[in-house]
């Protein structure tokens, strides 16, 4: 098992007035610095301490560790979780491993649906996720950002378009599920779950890239816009899933019809109820 060292906020060293400002929403954390959310002026450089992480595969576990590092106040819990999870996403091989998983799902889908539109768009989504990983590498250290500000800027402009394309595709994919044969639908669902779960991490990288260039408004805008698309996409999926499952509950579905979803019910539930993803989309670090 890989052991990674990441940096988490040392809340014991944070002055009470900063904690209060963070809790009230008057301050947010950008690039590890507490800034006013009104004018982005620096309020405090946050103190960090190294934390050893046992696993980079399960963000839910990481989130729990992050929560344990925070106090009892809701917002500091969210910030602590976002900082810890964000650090894992930004500074470890987590994204690359997720990318490999996604890639294998696309390849399986490709083998079944070769040449169809679905694959064309799925590959576009894969290109987006690869671009996210490339951007993550670019912003992994302050020195890299300083040396390559132009490249980070170019990445930002490219990522925005690719994100919109990917979200539109994932939204449309919900409507395609009903038209696919069972086996293909299973693979499409696996791809959908993995992709949508990846999106908040991708948005974290994109918004962090903007913050690293001190384009705070752009970073905030990316997060808020992506949050809306993400929630809409989840809502579409929930509505499709519940429609199918309600049919089964009413006794109107044949056994095979919702089986593909039933086989993936726990994955679907954990995606829909994933607080960690929501925190990544709502909290700056």
């Amino acid at each position: 098992m890989t052991r990674d060292v990441i940096f988490a906020i040392d809340w014991n060293e944070v002055p009470a007035e900063i904690v209060e400002a963070l809790n009230s929403g008057r301050a947010g954390i950008f690039n590890g610095v507490a800034r006013s959310t009104e004018n982005y002026k620096i309020m405090k450089h946050m103190p960090f301490k190294p934390v050893q992480m046992d696993s980079i595969q399960d963000l839910a576990q990481v989130a729990q560790q992050g929560q344990a590092l925070a106090g009892a106040v809701q917002m500091t819990v969210a910030i602590s979780t976002a900082v810890t999870v964000g650090a894992v996403v930004l500074c470890t091989a987590y994204l690359a491993s997720k990318l490999r998983e996604l890639d294998s799902k696309i390849q399986r889908l490709d083998a079944r649906l070769h040449g169809q539109n679905l694959i064309f768009y799925a590959e576009k989504a894969a290109t987006y996720f690869a671009a996210v990983e490339a951007t993550r590498e670019l912003i992994s250290t302050a020195e890299l950002v300083e040396e390559n500000r132009d490249l980070v800027g170019q990445s930002l402009s490219r990522l925005s378009g690719q994100r919109h394309e990917t979200m539109a595709f994932l939204g449309n994919l919900c409507h395609l599920f009903d038209h696919l044969p069972d086996e293909d639908r299973g693979m499409a669902l696996d791809f959908f779950h993995a992709s949508l779960d990846f999106v908040p991490k991708a948005v974290l990288v994109e918004s962090q890239a903007a913050y690293r260039l001190e384009r705070f408004r752009l970073g905030d805008h990316v997060r808020k816009s992506a949050q809306r698309s993400y929630e809409e996409c989840l809502l579409e999926y929930r509505s499709w899933g519940n429609g199918l499952l309600n049919k089964l509950t009413r006794g109107e579905a044949s056994r095979s019809n919702p089986q593909v979803l039933l086989d993936r019910l726990s994955e679907a539930k954990s995606l829909i109820n994933n607080d960690c993803n929501r925190i990544l989309l709502t909290t700056t670090i």
Binding site: N242, N246, G251, A253, R255, A268
Partner: protein, 235 residues
Amino acid sequence: MFALKYKPDPGLEFLQFCSHEEINELSDILISTGGSSVELSTNSEYIKNKENLSKCWPIVAAELQKFGGNTISNIARIGEGVLYDEIVNDLCLSFEIASQNLSITEKEDEILLKSLSDSFCIKHALKLFNERADQTAGNPGNQTVFMECIRRNSFLAYEVSLEFMDIIKKFAESHESKMKKLWANDTRIPILAPIYAGPLFEILRKKADPAFRVTIPAIIHIAYLRRKKLKANIL
């Protein structure tokens, strides 16, 4: 004795979404009403999962299918059940409900409505309904309009099934001695009380086939669970 075997059944598949408590209530009904014909309580899978019955819902469903088979073929303990839809059709026939072209949910609604037609029950249901009429579908005013509202509004049907369980539970509490006399040999009155009291009391007494004792309360409980799940959404 034949082993319980669940027949894939569209009408009962939703039981996989039910909690341990919900399946436990259903199995209590089957065990309490089924007498010596019940296989559930000695079934190894059932015993193994006694603490988490949601894992073995097919076995509980299979027991109901078996009793349904008894009402239809009247051949006890053949181990082969029938689909839930057939069980409901059988009860509809007995209640003189025209069930052709109705979905399972609609048939259950009609059974609930038929049970509600008991004067005691309808009086209380109407009172409760009128109390919340402003938030629902307007003031129904009378029994006919009230029943039509239920047919047209699945959410209301769920509300009614909830109220229905509550009303007959209260009735049962006030008629405990009558209940105990009827089911003198049954020591598990508490779970049975809500089901056997009130409007179903007379119906049950009139039914010659003992398997109706099992299927009627089970259908009412399943109708209630189905509406509960439809209201909550699974995802």
